[in-house]
């Protein structure tokens, strides 16, 4: 495991990479997304696991994104995702619509090393017509039973925020099992954490069930409050005001620039030095 600073962690992602990220209610990598914006990321292909919000909208608004694959993009109680909505209507990003359990299943297939996985439901949805990579086959165990099969999805990168990592690179994600699936499925997993702990997280039977072991973790950076404005388990709550501020500002291009200047980009003085 490599312990890096936040900007170096973000710099591991090349332009054009596929990057799986969690939604706002599940250890979202908000600080990491802001670091990607700062380094002028281009052509990202984001994967919402299974949906996405603030981080995706921010990256789209900052021009970092070529494609989004997700079951939804929304700011939840703060309303629609403004930059996402604008970009879809303008046709400036490619949107691959999905449904939540299909996102999970495609990643689970990659995590299990199987080339495809069947899933119930979806038949009769227009999603199918727009996902030529999703097929319908006959259930090999029952005649006259059409069933959707999905290809495995192995992202180039997975990124999320967690409470703690230890010196070996074990990461405690608590009940966010979807993060384990992301890490298992992705080729390289980048993690920001609140803090590094000195003891081993896998030696403690109470902590171990919530740990993704170092075998899956490429690099870690400390980013205190790195999920903000999202909350993190019992560490800190959502910052509902910040979500509302973002939703309000991002409604216009100009407002979005103001948000970036206020919360994402380095202060002009520092930038001028």
């Amino acid at each position: 495991m490599r312990l890096l600073d936040l900007d170096r962690l973000a710099a591991l992602v090349p332009a054009g990479a596929t990057l799986a990220i969690p939604p706002d209610n599940s250890a979202t990598c908000a600080a990491f997304a802001r670091a990607l914006v700062r380094q002028g990321m281009r052509d990202l292909r984001l994967i919402g696991v299974p949906v996405s919000g603030y981080a995706t909208d921010l990256l789209i608004g900052a021009g970092c994104v070529a494609e989004v694959q997700s079951s939804a993009v929304s700011l939840d109680e703060a309303g629609p995702a403004p930059c996402f909505t604008r970009a879809v209507k303008a046709g400036t990003i490619r949107m691959l619509d999905a449904t939540c359990p299909a996102m999970h299943a495609m990643l689970e297939a990659a995590a299990k090393g199987i080339p495809f996985i069947p899933i119930r439901g979806i038949l009769g949805s227009d999603l199918l017509a727009h996902r030529p990579d999703w097929r319908v086959i006959d259930n090999p165990f029952a005649a006259g039973d059409p069933i959707v099969v999905l290809p495995a999805l192995a992202p180039d990168f997975a990124a999320f925020h967690a409470a703690t990592a230890d010196r070996e690179g074990n990461v405690w994600v608590g009940r966010h099992r979807e993060l384990a699936v992301m890490a298992h499925a992705a080729r390289r997993t980048l993690v920001t954490v609140e803090r590094i702990v000195e003891r081993s997280l896998i030696e403690d039977e109470q902590l171990a069930p919530g740990v993704i072991t170092a075998a899956y973790v490429e690099a870690v950076a400390v980013a205190e409050q790195g999920a903000r404005p999202s909350g993190l388990l019992d560490e800190y709550p959502d910052d509902a005001e910040h979500f509302l501020e973002y939703a309000r500002l991002a409604r216009s291009e100009e407002g979005f620039r103001a948000y970036l200047a206020r919360h994402v980009l380095p202060p002009p003085a520092a930038a001028a030095e």
């Binding site: 299974p50 079951s71 939804a72 046709g91 619509d97 449904t99 979806i122 038949l123 227009d126 099992r177």
Partner: protein, 253 residues
């Protein structure tokens, strides 16, 4: 007791649908994110029967999901969720729902957030209640622009159930999957068959006699304003504070 709030009437109406004795008994109701009225209805149904598991996604205290955000869907696939709620940017007269958008795919005229779990849950959960507060011709359309999840399926498609009802801010409809058609069964106070007709973009039948959506009886109202309000506080603090400013301290729920 003070006057029944419109939200309380909706909550009571949905609780009655959950407990509809003509339907298979629900033992486990799941509620998606950001759904205060369905959540309150499920809690009320639980208080009435004393025997109903209610799993609210992203519940802030006593979150019943310990296996990640995929667990709800696995539970549904296993047949462990009996009843679920869905909404839609558009809902049409055949109970198709559209959470994608309007205009050229994937929503070049208007874009909704996305389909979430609808394309799965609608087919896997035996009982669905459609809920959308906004009741207008732009939401309740003749035919959805895009189908996130189909209201009915041809024979041979694996499907465990269909929508049973559609509850809006104006009325309650029942749905017949055989006829792929809604029937207006009650209108909320202040609405009429004409006002609902004008606000609805799809054709439907009308139950005779058409009734007014009843207020919850006093006993249910007491449950609603007592234990249900308390259960709502941790996950829906703003909603609970608005409806029930004197709501008791939250209990574990």
């Amino acid at each position: 007791m003070s006057e029944v709030l419109p939200e309380e009437r909706l909550i009571g109406a949905i609780a009655r649908l959950i407990l509809d004795p003509s339907r298979p008994r629900a033992r486990h109701v799941a509620i998606g994110a950001a759904s205060p009225i369905p959540s309150a209805a499920a809690y009320l149904a639980r208080e009435i029967t004393g025997d109903l598991r209610v799993s609210v996604l992203y519940k802030r205290r006593g979150n019943p999901f310990t296996d990640g955000t995929g667990e709800l869907f696995d539970l549904a696939a296993q047949g462990r969720i009996d009843l679920f709620f869905l909404g839609g940017g558009e809902i049409d007269g055949a109970a198709n729902i559209n959470l994608i958008g309007i205009g050229e795919w994937p929503g070049r005229t208007a874009r909704f957030p996305g389909s979430f779990g609808s394309a799965f849950m609608y087919l896997l959960v035996p009982r669905t209640i459609l809920f959308r507060l906004e009741h207008s011709p732009r939401v309740l359309v003749r035919r959805v622009a895009h189908v996130s999840a189909p209201g009915t399926s041809p024979p041979g498609h694996f499907r465990r159930g269909h929508a049973e009802a559609l509850v809006t801010g104006r009325a309650v409809f029942a749905f017949s999957p055989e006829r792929a058609r809604f029937t207006l069964v009650s209108v909320h106070p202040g609405e009429s068959r004409e006002s609902v007709r004008a606000a609805t973009g799809f054709d439907y039948d009308i139950a005779e006699p058409l009734s007014e959506t009843p207020a919850p009886p006093a006993r249910e109202l007491a449950l609603l304003r007592g234990p249900v309000a308390a259960a709502m506080v941790p996950t829906y603090p703003a909603f609970a504070a608005r409806l029930w400013p004197a709501a008791p301290i939250a209990r574990s729920a």
